[in-house]
Amino acid sequence: MKSNPYIKKFTAYIYDFPSLESFAKEERPFEKAKNIVRYLYYFLALKSTTMLFAGDTYFGTSENFSPVWSTLWVNLLSPADAITIIQFFFLASAFIGSFFYWNRIARIIAFLGVFELHALLSSFGIEVDHAWYPWLFVTFFLIFLPDTRAQTRHSLEGRKFFLLVFLAVQASVFFTYSMSGFGKIYGAINQIIGGGMHAFAPEALALHVAHWLASTHSVSLLGPFIIDHPWFGWPLFVGTIYLQFFALWILFKPSLHKLWAAGLVFSHIGIYVIMGLTYLSSAPLLILLFFDSPFHKPGTSWRKILLDLPIFGSLLRLFMDFRLSKMKK
């Protein structure tokens, strides 16, 4: 089936991500990726120590302890023993991951550490723990990294594998944001069809804040300000949806990796300041994985960055093509 030129042009435009082959040829992307993988495990090791210090502030009361299927073995012991065992297993697995990150078995152990910890945190009450999901996906995808002995020089093939899995790890973080953005847009379309208030209306954020603060009896720093000045909240809410929905798009636009990650970190700060929700657990992943992304070519011009912006980039491109064609005439 001869591929239709328009489809080719469109996919080329979206997926104009140079093939991993070209990245694998150079030395720097692979070294950078390897570095970041190492720092991910170092951060995991640090989290495992601070989790220990925080002690039982993370674990609910043991009365409503209903283990999920992955911690069923816990029924043989009391919840208190389970907490201690899993905390120490998580600590040991994180340090094994930090020291032997180039070995797949160590990475599997590190994943199991996070998996059991998340399972334990989800075993109190019927609440599933959200904080450790990002790390669960990241450590899962890290398992697929090829075994890279630290000192050996790797074949082109080995580097390609490494960068592909690294891209998947980055994708797992942006995937959750794109899902969240998609959910808001999908909800907005339903509400527009159904008539009445929807996510793109100016008062949307003010209504969300008022409803959330009232129903959860909580307060926030800028919540009242947003409710009193709904227009101020309009660009913030639409901007957050834009940032979240196009996250996966930006995965294939490395020039925007750092700015987009910083934008998402700001959105977390905004959510805390406006809604009073402290959801920071994916911020370290955004920072470690995207602030020094291996696929980012140093010295990309501002023009390239603007052209890569979703929607605005293509509008700018159309405008420039239009101006070009007018000048030619």
């Binding site: 899902m179 999908y186 909800g187």
Partner: protein
């Protein structure tokens, strides 16, 4: 594992997870263990909203002088096994079914709600509340409150 096979495998993981998440987001709780669609704040609350809430008339056998609505009663009479947002969705589910006349299917939600009372017996009403979202946050006043059902934990033989 050849390169392209790994590529397709990883891509398919994301696609499968997307559809699983999308499907799970339709359930009441909106998520399942290990499947988390991250659909948060997808429905913008309307200007004039109707909500369902619980009003406690009698608690631990004692008649309350002035009945307490759920948001205030949450801290006093409920153990925190269920987080606050999920109480709202459980109570909304009860209220909607009663309002639409299918009070048959609410058994499991009533049971979940009554299991979390700190002590029994409890007599409570399901109340349909109409309010202006912003006004309710500012002053707590509602436009109209209508009780649509009354329950006593003793009747259900719990």
């Amino acid at each position: 594992m050849p390169y392209n096979a790994l590529k397709i495998f990883l891509l398919s993981l994301f696609i499968v997870y997307f559809f699983a998440g999308f499907y799970v987001s339709k359930t009441i709780r909106g998520e399942k263990y290990l499947i988390f669609p991250a659909f948060l704040f997808t429905q913008v609350p309307p200007q004039i909203g109707t909500e369902y809430t619980v009003r406690i008339l009698e608690y631990g056998g004692k008649e309350l002088d002035h009945p307490i609505l759920f948001p205030d009663a949450y801290k006093l009479y409920f153990d925190n096994s269920i987080a606050l947002p999920h109480y709202n969705s459980v109570i909304r589910r009860i209220g909607m079914n009663i309002w639409q006349g299918q009070s048959g299917e609410i058994g499991q939600y009533i049971e979940a709600l009554e299991r979390s009372f700190l002590s029994k017996p409890v007599v409570y009403e399901i109340v349909r509340v109409k309010f202006d979202t912003i006004e309710y946050w500012r002053t707590g006043k509602t436009i109209e409150e209508k009780s649509i059902a009354t329950f006593n934990t003793e009747d259900a033989g719990l």
